[in-house]
């Protein structure tokens, strides 16, 4: 028997594939479906204090080698989102509540509510590549990252993960700041700031002009970030970015990730990508005589 269970802080997962934030996770029904498709846990859409409609469309475009999006953190606001979480809680789906705010007060308020509603862990989104005032403005300042993380840790008692961007001069510095703030894990990477210009209309395709680049093209960037972070911090790392096959997932695991999140992969291989990837990982492990996924975590560092 192949054992692909994994642990991130106190979170025990039946396999290492987690639904990434922002994909099929605006409502309980969608997240339930993804769980039924094999994901071991789901990260909610990033939720803020107030409702946000996000940017006008176009918010999405497929590119030659990946996906570009600028949703603009649409969300119904934390209070309205309670219903979705409570509903999902009834189905026993392991839930990681993703939140975004512009300062530690907001993060703390959101965290407490998320915890009360019943999520199993928190993901602090400090890395949205295109939402002004949120995302990168906080996530690129080590002091702020440390402060927000430690304030959230002080006011909650579930695992807290910090999600980082690759749009940083030094991602290790920020990961260490999160670790100093007592984060229980690092999630890397969010989508990469990018743009597509339509030649016929001679204008950016996205209404917000710039957006976040995700999918297969960014995997080598994500692998590098996870490798560098895992080498420099002692807390678990969750790898995100371009995971589309079981081999992609294993590459992240070898780079030092304890689990992976999958976003754009849902686009490329459908909602049952989670099952598919788990099967592919098991197959690879069988062919290579591994029985426990944990043996493979970080092996590329040796």
């Amino acid at each position: 028997m192949i054992d692909t269970t994994t642990k991130i802080a106190s979170l025990k997962l039946r396999n290492p594939t987690i639904l990434a934030s922002g994909i099929m996770d605006e409502d309980a029904g969608s997240m339930k479906r993804i769980f039924d498709c094999g994901a071991s846990a789901v990260v909610t859409k990033s939720i803020g204090l107030e409702s946000r409609a996000g940017y006008p469309n176009p918010t999405f475009a497929e590119l030659e080698h990946g996906i570009l999006n600028a949703m603009g953190l649409p969300n119904p606001g934390i209070n309205e989102f309670e219903g979705e979480i409570r509903k999902l809680k009834d189905s026993n789906v392991p839930m990681i509540g993703s939140i975004f705010g512009s300062n530690s007060h907001e993060f703390v308020e959101l965290s407490k509510k998320m915890q009360n509603y019943g999520v199993d862990a928190l993901e602090l989104n400090m890395s949205c590549p295109h939402a002004k005032g949120y995302g990168l403005e906080t996530g690129s300042d080590p002091k702020l990252v440390r402060e927000i993380t430690s304030k959230v840790k002080e006011s909650t008692n579930i695992p807290v993960f910090v999600k980082l961007s690759s749009n940083l001069t030094d991602i290790v510095e920020i990961a260490k700041a999160a670790e100093d703030g007592n984060a229980d894990g690092i999630v890397a990477i969010n989508s990469v700031k990018a743009m597509k210009i339509d030649l016929e209309l001679k204008m950016p395709v996205l209404a917000n002009k710039t957006g976040g680049y995700s999918g297969m093209a960014i995997k080598p960037i994500g692998i590098r970030c996870v490798y560098e972070i895992a080498k420099n911090v002692d807390i678990p790392v969750i790898g995100v970015g371009g995971v589309t096959t079981g081999e992609d997932a294993l590459e992240y695991i070898m780079a030092g990730a304890s689990a992976v999140q999958i976003g754009s992969g849902v686009y490329y291989r459908g909602v049952d990508i989670f099952k598919k990837i788990c099967r592919e990982m098991e197959c690879w492990m069988e062919n290579h005589n591994y029985t426990r996924l944990s043996e493979l975590i970080g092996v590329a560092h040796k």
Partner: protein, 259 residues
């Protein structure tokens, strides 16, 4: 690739004071009931069903209801729009005798299905429900298909005075239909579903859409059913199991809005 392709409007037709049809070259294969994401540059990108299906040319027919559709309404022949798609599943068209029920602008997206059913020698009955006779369009098109046409207006300005569902109730009790296909206000479709009992039923739903390709979950109903991928057409059995149907939709923030 799911990225807008820029096309010129090759033909623009005013169907009535609020409804227009645009034709453009778009050589991809489509089936009735599928839709596009239409990019109105600088304004918005919105879902629009296909209303004309030719090999190389496709058409959309839309009502101006807000900013995007107003801006689109102001465009005309030679103007450029961005198009991606086709998206969604489309109708299954089979059986001997189909009842089509179109409410308001929903009539537009039923037209290609009616035409295809006509070509397949399926016997056609169609109910067109509008508020007022001035809102009618596509009557001639349906006639050409050999359809038996019933019109209902809320104000009695033409045909039956009252709701399309009442008219449907009458027809359903008189005639035997092998299936019912509908598009219109969700409350109307919900009532129609209740009337249909064992008759195979397909309804095309509208939900706020962003990605159009099944990742953002903006359009999801029930247990993660994506109107943009598994829909927009759902059968009666599925709809009976979806508590949202006819009850609420979600706005751009994801907040539930009661119909």
């Amino acid at each position: 690739m799911n990225s807008p392709q820029i096309a010129k409007i090759t033909e623009a037709k005013t169907e009535n004071k609020d409804v227009k049809t645009f034709m453009f070259e778009y050589p991809k294969k489509m089936i009735p009931g599928q839709f596009f994401m239409i990019w109105i540059p600088g304004v918005d990108e919105i879902p629009m069903s296909v209303s004309y299906i030719d090999k190389d040319v496709k058409g959309i027919t839309f009502r101006k209801v807000g900013e995007a559709t107003n801006a689109l309404f102001d465009l005309g022949k030679g103007d450029k729009i961005g198009i991606r798609g086709p998206y969604g599943n489309g109708f299954k068209i089979n059986g001997k005798q189909i009842l089509f029920v179109g409410g308001g602008t929903g009539i537009a997206m039923l037209a290609p299905a009616v035409e295809e059913a006509g070509i397949n020698n399926i016997s056609l009955t169609i109910i067109i429900g509008v508020k007022n006779s001035s809102e009618l369009f596509f009557e001639d098109r349906f006639k050409k298909c050999g359809a038996e046409i019933h019109i209902s207006t809320d104000d009695g300005s033409k045909g039956y005075k009252g709701f399309a569902t009442d008219l449907a109730d009458e027809l359903l009790s008189k005639e035997k239909f092998t299936s019912v296909l509908t598009c219109g206000p969700e409350i109307m479709m919900k009532s129609l579903l209740d009337l249909c009992k064992n008759i195979p039923f397909q309804a095309s739903l509208e939900r706020y859409m962003k990605c159009g390709v099944g990742i953002c979950s903006q359009c999801c109903i029930g247990e993660g059913l994506r109107v943009c991928v598994e829909g927009p057409v759902f059968d009666g059995k599925t709809l009976r199991n979806i508590e949202d149907f006819g009850v609420y939709k979600r706005d751009a923030t994801g907040r539930k809005i009661r119909f």
